[in-house]
């Protein structure tokens, strides 16, 4: 009998070893070519291995997006910790980062040696222009998912103006506009309307 019947169940009860966690994240770190690593994490952890359930994954992703840190590394920490505590978190983080970090170490050295050759420069300029398109589309898609209403667009605009026009530091804008936006969305008391 196929195991399709229990696809939307939560994490599988059997224990996952630290080695398995490292291996799984290493594989994702080495094969997630193109697009968001989060999608690859979901396919592997929720889909293929069933180490976390759908709802847990969505919740952990939302924590990852709220906190500072790369979404993929935060997710690795949170999932690793859920599966096997502190060693699991460390194994997941190392696994997901190692392949890309090693690759970029080599790429960096190569870039340093050949980056100013005319043919290489021409390619790199094309790559950079293409990356601008990729960043644009990624940002648009994220915005479409997480922005609600006009007031959110105001906060987006304030952050952009602060960093790109006024050249304030990202920290200043994060704290300033962040505090404003959090205060705007502050918890309302249950007896709302009669107060103030």
């Amino acid at each position: 009998m196929s195991d399709l019947a229990e696809t939307d169940r939560g994490p599988s009860p059997r224990a996952v070893t630290v080695g398995q966690i490292f291996g799984a994240f290493l594989l994702i770190g080495a094969t997630s070519f193109g697009g968001s690593v989060v999608a690859y994490l979901e396919a592997s952890l929720v889909g293929k291995r069933r180490w976390v359930g759908d709802e847990t994954f969505v919740e952990l992703l939302s924590i990852s997006q709220t906190l500072p840190g790369l979404n993929a590394t935060n997710l690795a920490i949170l999932v690793g910790d859920r599966l096997r505590g502190t060693p699991g978190a460390i194994a997941a983080l190392c696994g997901i980062c190692l392949p890309g970090a090693l690759l970029m170490y080599v790429v960096g050295m190569t870039f340093h040696a050949f980056g100013d050759r005319p043919l290489v420069t021409a390619m790199l300029r094309g790559v950079a222009a293409a990356a601008v398109g990729l960043i644009l589309v990624t940002t648009l898609q994220m915005g479409r998912k997480s922005l609600h209403g006009l007031v959110d667009l105001v906060f987006v605009a304030l952050a952009v103006i602060g960093v790109s026009t006024l050249h304030l530091s990202v920290l200043t804008v994060l704290l300033g506009v962040g505090a404003l936006a959090i205060f705007w969305h502050r918890p309302r008391s249950e007896r709302q309307g009669s107060s103030q």
């Binding site: 222009a129 589309v137 648009l140 997480s146 920290l171 962040g178 502050r186």
Partner: protein, 173 residues
């Protein structure tokens, strides 16, 4: 001069700015790595980031290259630890507290409020990259075509960016 202490300081600071993704810290990364410490040029920074879009794993591992240029292997290792450790420790502890914070009414306010701010920071990062990368008609055309392809199809972004390299080879020499 030994750059490792500066690398540690700069990348630990940058890591705390990456709310919503690595791109949120990009304007500050450019200010500190290019203008303040002269580890590389703005073009090199943007090109490194762009090349990484064809690599697997979390984007922003290209900071390893910056560390390597500035201070060799020690620099690369320092940058990686400085950039990953603070936010990972934070994620670890907040992750454990999270369920207990469920009844804290500000939890939802923080999530709700930071979402648009992070999109704003990502947009500012986009503008920083665009200002450096878009140098003429050909580059703008590449950006527009790539955006259209990614919006309208399920093409693998790594391959689309690779296509940009080929177009550059022909048209940007």
């Amino acid at each position: 001069m030994n750059q490792v202490p500066s690398l540690l300081r700069v990348f630990a600071y940058l890591s705390l700015l990456t709310v919503g993704g690595g791109m949120a810290a990009f304007p500050e990364l450019q200010t500190l790595a290019v203008n303040v410490h002269h580890w590389l040029t703005a073009q090199q920074l943007v090109q490194l980031y762009s090349v990484e879009q064809m690599a697997p794993g979390p984007k922003m591992m290209m900071i390893v290259s910056i560390g390597q240029w500035a201070a060799g292997f020690a620099g690369a290792a320092a940058v990686l630890v400085a950039f990953l450790l603070p936010t990972s420790v934070l994620a670890f502890f907040i992750g454990r507290l999270w369920t207990r914070l469920e009844r804290w009414p500000w939890r939802a306010s923080i999530q709700r409020g930071l979402a648009p701010v992070s999109i704003g920071l990502l947009s500012a990062g986009f503008l920083t990259v665009a200002r450096v990368a878009l140098t003429g008609v050909v580059t703008v055309i590449i950006t527009v075509v790539v955006s259209a392809i990614l919006l309208r199809s399920r093409a693998n972004p790594a391959l689309v960016v690779l296509g940009g390299a080929l177009v550059g080879l022909v048209a940007l020499r």
